[in-house]
Amino acid sequence: MRSEFVRIYKAVHTWTGIVAGMALFIAFYAGALTVFKEPLAAWASPPVAGSVVPLAETPKLIAGVLAADPVTARDFTIHITDAEHVPGRMGWQVRDPDADDHDESSVRHYVGTLDAAGLARIEASHPSQLASFIDVLHRVVGLPVDSDPNRWVMGLVAALYALALVSGVVVLLPSLVKDFFALRLGKNLKRMWLDAHNVVGIVSLPFHLVMALTAVVFAFHDGIYVVQDKFVHDGKWGTAFQRQQPAAVAPGRDPAGMLSPLELIARARAFAPGFEPTMLQYQQITGPRAVVRVWGKDAAAVSPRARGGFAALDPYTGKVINSDFLPGRQSTPSLFVSSFFALHMAAFGGTAVQWMYFLLGLAGAWLFYSGNLLWVESRRRKRSRDGGELPVQRRDVRLLASATVGVCIGCMCGISLTIVGAKWAYGLVGDANAWLLPVYYASFFGCIAWAFLRGAAKAAVHLLWLAAAATLAIPLTSCLAAVAPSLNMWVHTSLSSLGVDITACVGAVAFGWMAKATARRVRQGVPDSVWSEGQAPCLQGSAPGVGVQAK
């Protein structure tokens, strides 16, 4: 390849990477955690008071709730599997009509239960929004609300990310064979970081291409549909999802005539062996288009959505109306569409693939962090060979080093503190969800401020220790909850909830190791670098301590 092209693409890679890198770090770190959204939700969910209605008694529960609140017939869910974050057997949501479709924080949740006398009772429930909060950080690159404009920001970042991927490959191609299997550890730190950046980038390139392109679609699909409706579908797109008129069925059907949940589950299992139902979503059950979506997962198939797929059944006859979204039963074109979702959300291959995505997500976050470090290192002012005066590093380099340290480590500190805070706040103030956002952003911006005040080198050590402590506080909180019930906290002993505690332990050790390694570099590394303790914080013009170092 001609060297001019390599130079042009190097410029593209540098600037797209710098603009998008820190937002992508947040998206990837929060995204890696979002792979385990359900375990996180389970960890943060307070224990359900009272016993869950047995599945066999569910028809009585449905009839009782519908008698008390007929509007519920529009859409409610029967949860089949018991988990900490499932507040009861029967649940439904009321959405604020003014709020964005993706805005989970404005949704009100209700559960239906049977009291001791067998009468239906409706209660508002307040499930922990911790897992959703981290998911929102992931979906809109660290912004607080999943709204249209924020998603467009995310889409722009994802488009820059796609450009950075292609340009990075173009830059690396001429020397790929020579560089790919080389990880040159040693004195030349920049060479080592560059080799590591290249290896991680090339090895996980398919994963990153999938993420970049799907993220662009998630941001801009509405706009693309509008344009295509005009130029491709001749204005017929709006009719594509209208269901065919069903056979003449008298409206006002009596829900008492529905098959029981156990029978519906059995019908779905008989239709699709290997499919494991997790919940039943009833829609419009008193209308002519009554349908129950039997949601579930099939570890051997591609799931169309993160929470699995569904078979649509007629709740009165048990007949399968639609299997377009049933894992393993989709038509080839539908499977293509589903695979785009599944490839983004790790909705295939079960727990092993989820762990793989978790690690790939963390590796991706590291890729963006290391990219910024390489930008900083490329612009380093070195001391002349004859040992002259120690140069002051460029101001823009010091600013970017501080921003990278503050944003990236600040995001990790913020998320760990928010997880811890979700449990403590419930015990102390009740409405724990109101505290998620202030806790996260206070720690995030606090870390950024610290990084600018103290300079990248010293702040990196402090903030990594903070990240280690905050992450260690996750399992410690669970331990404390077990020994001190008066704190009004809880500890769940399911594998998924304990998995959060164990993973946090490992994470805390990793942060501690990074803090020690960084501290060593700050003390003993070359002094002509922003990563040396002798360098000035970026908000000051001159460098105190430079004279001492130079002597």
Binding site: A162, V166, F220, Q228, A240
Partner: protein, 93 residues
């Protein structure tokens, strides 16, 4: 005549980037139209989704490849011709 591989590569950041953005979008929508036209038997719901999904890869593929043109003018000419050709095919079909 000069050997094209010897022609100096101009950076032309603005004209190349706008060519990739604008004509990449035109190409992507035109290609999705072609896909939709050639698969008319597929139900609209899923055909439309596939047509939407193919837009960002084509658009960003063009945008990220556009800097391989030796100048911004050539990028506009070649991509414009490609877009016109596919749009023309769509009209003929």
């Amino acid at each position: 005549m000069t050997d094209p591989s010897r022609r100096p590569v101009q950076r032309d950041w603005l004209s190349k980037t706008t060519a990739g953005l604008v004509l990449g979008a035109v190409l992507a929508i035109a290609c999705s139209g072609l896909f939709s036209r050639l698969n008319a038997a597929m139900p609209l719901a899923v055909r439309g989704q596939l047509a939407m999904w193919m837009v960002p890869p084509i658009w960003l593929g063009v945008l990220s490849g556009v800097y391989f043109f030796s100048s911004g003018v050539r990028a506009w000419l070649w991509l414009g011709a490609a877009g016109a050709f596919i749009t023309g095919v769509l009209y003929v079909l």
